[in-house]
């Protein structure tokens, strides 16, 4: 098995793990959303890597070019990017309201305040 041929995918896996780790391990809610962002973006990188054809050109039809990269993952990821920013904005809106209600955006503080009452 050619190690190089999977190198891209493995790096992407590392990126996903880092993003996922931030989501779970950090108590700050904004940080969690940032982690989520990294996690999602890494999945986009996975998809786009799938679409690459070695020696291919960008999928814009040009005369004299016969080998193009796969346009389908691009279309899917365009949609997924939109989903990502939509999620981020809703999450941040929630964070602002949580801060107004609790005076903190730290998960542990919030948990503590909820348990007190």
């Amino acid at each position: 098995m050619d190690v190089l041929s999977y190198f891209n995918y493995w790096v992407v896996v590392v990126l996903m793990m880092l993003g996922f780790f931030i989501v779970i391990a950090r108590a700050n809610l904004v940080k969690k959303l940032i982690g989520l962002n990294i996690f999602q973006t890494s999945v986009f990188i996975l998809y786009i890597s799938t679409g690459k054809v070695a020696g291919g050109a960008a999928p814009i039809l040009t005369e004299g070019v016969t080998l193009y990269s796969n346009p389908l993952p691009h279309v899917l990821i365009l949609t997924a990017i939109v989903v990502g920013i939509a999620t981020t904005s809703v999450g941040l809106a929630l964070v602002i309201r949580i801060h107004a209600a609790y005076g903190s955006v730290n998960q542990n503080d919030i948990l503590q305040q909820d348990q007190q009452c």
């Binding site: 793990m17 391990a25 940080k31 039809l61 389908l72």
Partner: protein, 330 residues
């Protein structure tokens, strides 16, 4: 050469993500997120995904850091805290996920191989036939706006939902109407003369460029979504420099909120017209006797709907966030 660029970009991505794990300040994290977005956009260019790169540059390096910044401005930077106990559960979960992902890669077709199933089954038709079936050079636009147009309608609906959700969450009780900013003159203590002059020169060109991206998306990278983001960024730039009340007088929130719905409805109506003729939803051949011309008209309308909704929703979200910031200030 390509491999070198590739590897360097990937390593930079890993470094950025690693820094994000370590860094605790929210402002620094926001900047790193922006860097991550820009790097991944560059990576997408090397992967031939120019449309995606364009979008990621606008969203990952532009809009989402902007929203993060507005949030940080509204809630305060917060004190960076020392690390607590080692998050064992998180490490275990992440390791399991990572292991599963690695297992998943083992039987994958090698990177870049042209005979992978993904490149031999559905996609070839798009590359071979879209030229005559749709008649536009940008295959991504063909697939996006025609072959998989229903997905794109879903995408527009997602962004519309985000707008609705943000307004619903941030609408303060007791306030009439939705999240309307208050008109407080002079909320910016200091005039930014240089910035204002430069932005006054640039903003018309930004809006012009947005229109170019909107209507050139069939031929080059770009399209409704990217155009919408750029258009909104022009408005946001104006708002950042002249204050929310001023920009709200120029671009009224009520109008923008209505436009967000109008864009989706434009898309939906374009699809419905085909149904009235007894054809499937989003069949553009209804628009002209010549199917290729019909596709052209359909794609134009649909992309326009996308552009209108995206520009309005992003503006609406900016208004809602900036309003929170001004309330936190005042």
């Amino acid at each position: 050469m390509e491999l070198l660029v590739n590897s360097v970009l990937l390593m930079l991505l890993v470094a950025t993500a690693g820094a994000l794990v370590v860094v605790r300040g929210l402002l620094a994290s926001t900047m790193l997120t922006s860097v991550y977005g820009l790097l991944s956009a560059s990576f997408f260019v090397t992967m031939d995904a120019v449309d995606v790169a364009f979008t990621e540059a606008a969203v990952g390096a532009g809009v989402s850091p902007l929203l993060l910044l507005l949030t940080v401005a509204a809630i305060g930077r917060g004190e960076p805290r020392a690390a607590g106990a080692l998050p064992i559960l998180a490490i275990v979960l992440v390791t399991i996920t990572g292991a599963l992902l690695i297992i998943g890669t083992l039987d994958m077709p090698p990177f870049g191989s042209a005979d992978a199933p993904a490149h031999t089954h559905v996609a070839p038709r798009y590359l071979q036939l879209s030229g005559e079936e749709i008649g536009i050079p940008n295959v991504v636009t063909s697939v996006l706006a025609s072959y998989r147009a229903f997905d794109t309608l879903g995408e527009v609906l997602v962004i519309f939902t985000a707008g609705v959700a943000v307004l619903l969450i941030l609408a303060t009780p007791g306030q009439r109407g939705s999240a309307r900013p208050r008109y407080t003159p002079g909320s910016h203590s200091e005039p930014h003369t240089i910035l204002q002059v430069v932005s006054k020169i640039l903003i018309p060109f930004i809006l012009l460029f947005a229109l170019y991206v909107q209507f050139h998306g069939e031929y080059g990278p770009g399209g409704g979504f990217q155009a919408g983001v750029i258009f909104a960024s022009g408005i946001i730039l104006y708002g950042l420099l002249y204050g929310l009340p001023t920009v709200c007088r120029v671009v009224r929130p009520a109008v923008v909120e209505t436009l967000a719905a109008v864009g989706v409805l434009l898309y939906g109506t374009t699809g419905l017209l085909a149904m009235l003729d007894g054809r499937p939803f989003l069949d553009y051949s209804v628009f002209a006797a010549n199917p290729v011309l019909g596709q052209h008209i359909g794609i134009l309308l649909v992309e326009l709907g996308v552009g209108i909704t995206v520009a309005s929703v992003i503006t609406v979200i900016y208004y809602a966030f900036a309003n929170q910031f001004e309330m936190a200030e005042g």
